[in-house]
């Protein structure tokens, strides 16, 4: 009898294991959108206390360093502002002469990055802000050094950003001097810890020197123009003599970034009026 009980218990173990593996495989095979919706639902309910706790811990760890950085940046900004007053007045005068409207102020939202100790952390990042703070999908995520990625999914109090290391990341980009346009995408590499980017779609006739800064082009409506992405570090491959693909060394390491800014587009007053008038 004990033998039979042991066999039955062992069979139950196997059934439970097979069931869990089957559910995992089912989740893997589900359309990405369904899986992400399920993840957002769990994140916003059962895991809310854990995320809140981790958010407070991250804030506590980075607060001292951030205060020092902010003070240093404030001092630098104050010095620059003194010199900029004349430029601002001159700019206003010239805009007035040319009949141009005022530039819209940039709006942004600061967020803590809640890192997870798993190897795929860095392809997606959990951010400690959500729709309650005004986050919505496709907001660009940037760090002080440059582009980190884009908001993928949002919940009430947290959101998920896909970084440039995510296999589905793409951004329209241009060299700093606006000479060469292309598409930036993560490079397939055998070593995920040495993730780099590719600058694709560059015409064969165009040559980009090493060290050239590549920034977002503003095309596509997701990333505003001018966010630094990376520096060219050589030719990665050539496609049948009509396209060169350059290797790009990213400026930001998503695995170690602790604090990011989400850029929010500000609609000019006149376009807001247009939007309201459209039924």
């Amino acid at each position: 009898m004990p033998h039979a009980a042991g066999r039955s218990s062992s069979r139950r173990d196997t059934v439970l294991f097979a069931g869990c593996v089957a559910l995992s495989l089912l989740a893997l095979l589900l359309p990405a959108g369904w899986g992400q919706t399920l993840a957002t639902g769990i994140r916003e309910t059962a895991l809310l206390p854990a995320i809140w706790l981790q958010g407070r811990a991250e804030e506590g760890r980075t607060s001292r360093a951030r205060l020092q950085t902010v003070l240093a940046q404030r001092d630098s900004a104050a010095m620059a502002a003194q010199a900029a007053l004349g430029l601002v007045a001159e700019n206003e005068r010239l805009r007035g002469l040319l009949g141009l409207r005022r530039r819209d102020p940039a709006a942004f939202l600061a967020a803590e990055v809640l890192h997870q100790p798993i190897p795929t952390d860095g392809r997606t990042l959990l951010l400690g802000v959500g729709t309650r703070e005004g986050v919505r999908p496709f907001l660009p995520v940037v760090a002080a050094e440059g582009l980190v990625g884009v908001v993928l999914r949002t919940g009430l109090t947290s959101s998920i950003a896909a970084t440039w290391a995510h296999p589905e990341f793409r951004a329209s980009a241009v060299t700093e001097d606006s000479g060469v346009l292309g598409i930036v995408a993560p490079a397939a590499s055998d070593d995920p810890s040495l993730a780099v980017l590719e600058f694709r779609g560059v015409a064969y006739r165009d040559t980009i020197p090493e060290g050239t800064l590549v920034v977002t082009s503003g095309l596509g409506g997701v990333y505003p123009r001018g966010i630094p992405i990376g520096r060219v570090s050589g030719v990665r491959r050539e496609e049948l003599g009509w396209e060169r693909v350059y290797r790009l060394t990213p400026l930001v390491n998503p695995g170690s970034v602790g604090h990011v800014v989400l850029l929010q587009p500000v609609l000019p007053a006149d376009s807001a009026l247009i939007r309201e008038s459209v039924p």
Binding site: V21, Q36, A39, L53, P117, I118, P119, T124, P192, S193
Partner: protein
Amino acid sequence: MSNGRAQGWPLWLVLPLLLLLHFYVRPRFYSGRGAPDFLLLALLIVALETRPGPAAVAGFAVGLVTDVLAPVRVGAGALAHTVVAYLAAWGRSVFFPDNVLVNMVVFGACTWLRNLILLFASDPGLGALVGSLAPWGLLQVATTAVAGGVVTLALRHRVDVRLEE
């Protein structure tokens, strides 16, 4: 027997402590990828104390949590943790002796295997194997093994009791 149980830290105290370490203490001091994974450690401790079936269910639940917190491919974490928890529980019931060093090796090996399956399920290819052997991955294996050793020492008497029974 009862002395051992009285001296060891109870599991109901150690598991919430590990969760606190994972969600508060670790991000408070160092949240890099080489940090010990206390959530996985809690799962492995539960797996070593239970039968393979319930361990697989616990692994699925913990894996779902990692999928939710860092979703590259939802289901990859669930699969990795289910397999690792089942193997740990099965291995314990079949041949793991009770020894702190052996437990540390088990914790380290399980962390490496979890990373390998997670990377492979997220992005199939040779890169998964290379990625799991990357310096930060091996550092996490080492830190998790050491943290597991400390927890095992705290639970040691309790484990002794289980073997005697």
